[in-house]
């Protein structure tokens, strides 16, 4: 699938064919894409637990669902990919290790001033970096653990977004979903054997859609001009309608502001099929 087609087809699918398993090969293909996801410093702080709903002990399945208030999409999806962030994955010393690796493979050019010595002096001694180098002394020297945790969380959110597109690329429905009620996060960690220190991020539900994969159409989006500025905030990026039309031709549809025709009929029959109230 072409990239734009994957972005254009992606919807948060919330009705899954509970009877159709996802081949483990497809799950692995999604994980392999996540592994190669970009993030600053190549930190890779994401840690993942995959649950195949029909292959785990029913009591574990039901406990995980109970922690999430038995949300419908979670109940139906055959695969649950739990994303956590490891704060240790974003500590200053981790950044030092990862960036030294990047120097070693030619990703961070010494021509820009990168060197292991520069990294150590900036991160561990707070030495000011020269012009041409990022101010990693300001960014990382004395970085509190809580901030590392926030950085790890933010980077993992990015990985979740990429995972979603990877699932769409496999022809699957996908939905980023809360892991559990906030008050039940520790319970879920215990159930999954996840270290206390891990920060819950999202879970990605995947499966074959029971609903039309278009799921009612493109969701409402903020106006382009409200999001993107040019030169200075508040000066809208000039939007060329021809570009919009080209993208539509390449598989990136625009929101219409209305659900697809018969969407609510579809929802009614889906609810009846699975036994939910209408």
């Amino acid at each position: 699938m072409e990239f734009l087609e994957a972005v254009g087809k992606r919807r948060s699918v919330r009705w899954f064919k509970t009877w159709e398993q996802v081949p483990q090969e497809k799950i692995q293909r999604v994980l392999e894409v996540v592994r190669l996801t970009t993030c600053p410093g190549n930190l890779q702080p994401w840690r993942v637990v995959v649950i195949e709903r029909d292959k785990v002990d029913p009591s574990l399945r039901d406990n995980l669902l109970a922690c999430d208030n038995w949300q419908g999409a979670h109940t139906q999806a055959p695969v649950w990919i739990y994303f956590y962030a490891d704060p240790k994955g974003a500590l200053p010393e981790t950044f030092a290790t990862r960036t030294k690796e990047l120097i070693g493979v030619g990703a961070l050019p010494t021509a820009f001033g990168w060197s292991p010595q520069a990294i150590d002096s900036a991160i561990f001694e707070g030495e000011t970096m020269p012009a041409g180098m990022p101010a990693i002394n300001e960014l990382l020297h004395g970085l509190p653990y809580e901030v590392s945790a926030n950085v790890a969380y933010a980077e993992t959110v990015g990985a979740c977004a990429v995972a979603t597109l990877a699932a769409v690329n496999e022809g699957l429905g996908a939905c980023l979903h809360m892991i559990s009620n906030p008050s039940k996060q520790e319970e879920v960690k215990r159930l999954l054997g996840v270290p206390d220190s891990f920060v819950p991020v999202w879970q990605l539900l995947i499966g074959y859609p029971a609903e039309d994969p278009d799921a009612g159409g493109v969701r409402p989006k903020l106006p382009f001009e409200q999001i993107f500025s040019y030169g200075k905030w508040g000066q809208p990026f000039p939007r060329d309608q021809r570009v919009v039309t080209q993208l539509e031709d390449e598989g990136l549809p625009q929101p219409t502001g209305e659900p697809k025709a018969n969407r609510f009929d579809e929802l009614k029959y889906l609810a009846r099929m699975f036994g939910y109230p209408v």
Binding site: W70, G275, P277
Partner: protein
């Protein structure tokens, strides 16, 4: 009387009509019973909670009059079992959480008086759950219990 009146959740009172289809037209019992039920559901429609429920659901799903008739019959029976009118039930359910949970427990017992079929019982529960949800009383919803069952 009403507990024996098998009402399909979709509004078709199948069993009673099937059993009584052979009755002589001269027998007014079935007609009177149906008229009584219809008049009772008409009475139900004056309640604010019922009007809100119907409006909210129809806004999206446009259910048929036949289906609404069936739903209202189930609600009517639930109200009789609770000895309360619909507005009173919603007022209590939206109050203390414990009260709402108690309603759900009694609902499970109530639907078993209507049918022994677990799928039908689930459907009857969903009618009352829909009534609660669309009146702002948040209740858990779950699919049919066999959603996890695999044939292989």
């Amino acid at each position: 009387m009403h507990a024996a009146y098998a009402i399909h959740p979709c509004g078709h009172d199948t069993m009673r009509y099937f059993l009584n289809a052979h009755k002589s037209p001269a027998s007014n019992d079935l007609r009177k019973e149906k008229e009584q039920l219809v008049s009772e559901t008409e009475n139900l429609r004056v309640y604010q909670s019922v009007q809100l429920w119907m409006a909210e659901v129809n806004n999206m799903y446009h259910l048929s009059e036949a289906e609404w008739e069936g739903r209202l019959q189930v609600l009517q029976q639930f109200c009789e079992a609770e000895s309360k009118d619909p507005d009173e039930i919603i007022a209590e359910a939206r109050g203390a959480r414990a009260e709402k949970i108690d309603y759900m427990r009694r609902l499970k017992r109530f639907v078993k008086t209507l049918t022994t079929n677990p799928t039908s019982a689930h459907d009857y529960e969903n009618i009352i759950r829909s009534f609660f949800i669309n009146n702002g009383a948040r209740v858990v919803t779950k699919p049919y219990p066999d959603v996890y069952q695999q044939s292989q």
